[in-house]
């Protein structure tokens, strides 16, 4: 064997040694070394010459990367094993939805509502709000995900020793869900609510002047009527979706697409309602003309201020609908 080729072998062995378990390091390395040298000598005696550096290189490459060779001698270790991993992922998603998203919305509202937020809503003001949120968001996400990971890493160790996951009772499993029945019950409940809302909307909101009791008079902008009719159509479409589910609980596509369409229309209407500042004036006992103007301006100001929040909420609702459709597509394609 050439000296340079030997050097290559020694380098390879040294790299393996680094990753080997401490207590058996020398013993394992001596064995790998003996095997490697025996293979090289075998080849050399077959070829009746010393192996070249590139031939040695080929042998080493065929044996594999040093850390991979060493990993075979280490006990199989993982932070979270395959048994707990799906539960870990599920909890991580729950933590994001139940902790991060509400935190994000609450923080956004607090930042917008606080007195220091400029009424003019300039782009730098919004940029400032987003910068504050994103700064904290990473901390919160890191702490949230880190806590869940830590809990599961501990559970993994406990489970490996106590095997608590193996002690279970089939009687404690939740009862089988009747998918269609569930959908029908939800649809019936939703239809009842929508019909009540539609009746109220059509009976009391079809005018630009609304009376609360006998003494409070609320005047709305003329655009209100356009908003009124558009929203009535959305309500009726939502009722149609519920009727469709009640009549044909097995069909998936038409209700899902209708729901998405309703969400888009509802989102656009809700955002334009906030953006336009619908309140034209108010009259109430013990309220001076100036107070009425101030009140109207304040309400309109807060509606406009909340416009970006309305956009975020609408986008989230639309995204959930799109996700549901995507899930339905993947389920139907997996069952085909």
């Amino acid at each position: 064997m050439e000296l340079k080729a030997m050097e290559l072998v020694n380098r390879y062995l040294q790299a393996i040694k680094f990753w080997l378990p401490k207590e058996q390091k020398d013993n394992i390395l001596a064995e790998i070394s003996a095997d490697l040298r025996a293979q090289i000598e075998d080849r050399e005696s077959a070829l009746d010459r010393s192996l070249t550096q590139s031939e040695i290189e080929d042998i080493l490459k065929q044996r594999g990367r040093p850390c991979l060779v060493a990993s075979g001698f280490r006990p199989q270790e993982s932070l979270i094993g395959p048994v707990l991993y799906p539960i870990y992922l599920f909890c991580l998603k729950c933590a994001i939805l139940g902790y991060l998203v509400p935190w994000l919305l609450v923080t956004l509202i607090i930042l917008i509502v606080r007195p220091s937020f400029p009424a003019a809503q300039s782009i730098p003001a919004w940029f400032n709000v987003l910068a504050q949120i994103s700064g904290n968001l990473w901390n919160m996400a890191f702490v949230g995900a880190g806590t869940v990971t830590l809990i599961f890493a501990i559970l993994e160790r406990v489970q490996a020793k106590s095997h608590w996951l193996e002690n279970w009772n089939p009687r404690q499993l939740p009862p089988v869900r009747k998918a269609n029945l569930n959908r029908r019950t939800n649809a019936a409940f939703e239809l009842a609510i929508i019909l009540l809302a539609t009746a109220w909307w059509a009976a009391y909101m079809d005018r630009t002047v609304i009376y609360l009791g006998e003494s409070i008079r609320i005047a709305l902008n003329p655009q209100w009527l356009w908003f009124f009719w558009s929203y009535l159509v959305v309500l009726l479409l939502t009722a149609t979706t519920s009727i469709l589910i009640l009549a044909r609980p097995h069909i998936v596509w038409p209700p899902a697409v209708l729901r998405l369409f309703n969400s888009i229309c509802g989102g656009i209407l809700f955002c334009s309602f906030l953006r336009l500042g619908m309140l034209a004036g108010i009259q109430a006992p013990n309220m001076t003309a100036q107070q009425a103007i101030d009140f109207t301006n304040t309400v309109n100001h807060w509606m406009i201020t909340c416009f970006p929040l309305g956009v975020i909420v609408s986008v989230v609702i639309i995204a959930i609908d799109i996700y549901r459709i995507a899930r339905a597509v993947s389920r139907s394609s997996s069952t085909e």
Partner: protein, 120 residues
Amino acid sequence: MTQEYFENLRLELRRGSVVLAVLAALRREQYGYTLRKTLSDHGLEIDEGTLYPLLRRLETQGLLDSQWREEDKRKKRFYILSTEGARVLEQLLAEWRSIDLSLEQVLKEQSNGAQSNGTR
């Protein structure tokens, strides 16, 4: 993709039989390199990354005995089946033959069923 699935299934199928082959081959004392060659000569290729950790695991389980000895001016670690290993090998071979027999019967039944369907 099919080739990839086949490769994974083939590896799974071989995993258990490799243990059996190693234990059987070590009824005669050998060191790692000659053991690998013996298995390879019988059509059972096994790479060093699999063989040496397996030998250590089997030794830890008390199925193999080992000792370092000098041969051809080089120190080598020789392995041989322990008494416990010989007992376990016999049990595993009995299990292997039973699986083989069952599989043969299943395959025979299937092929008979296919033939009778074809003649209908």
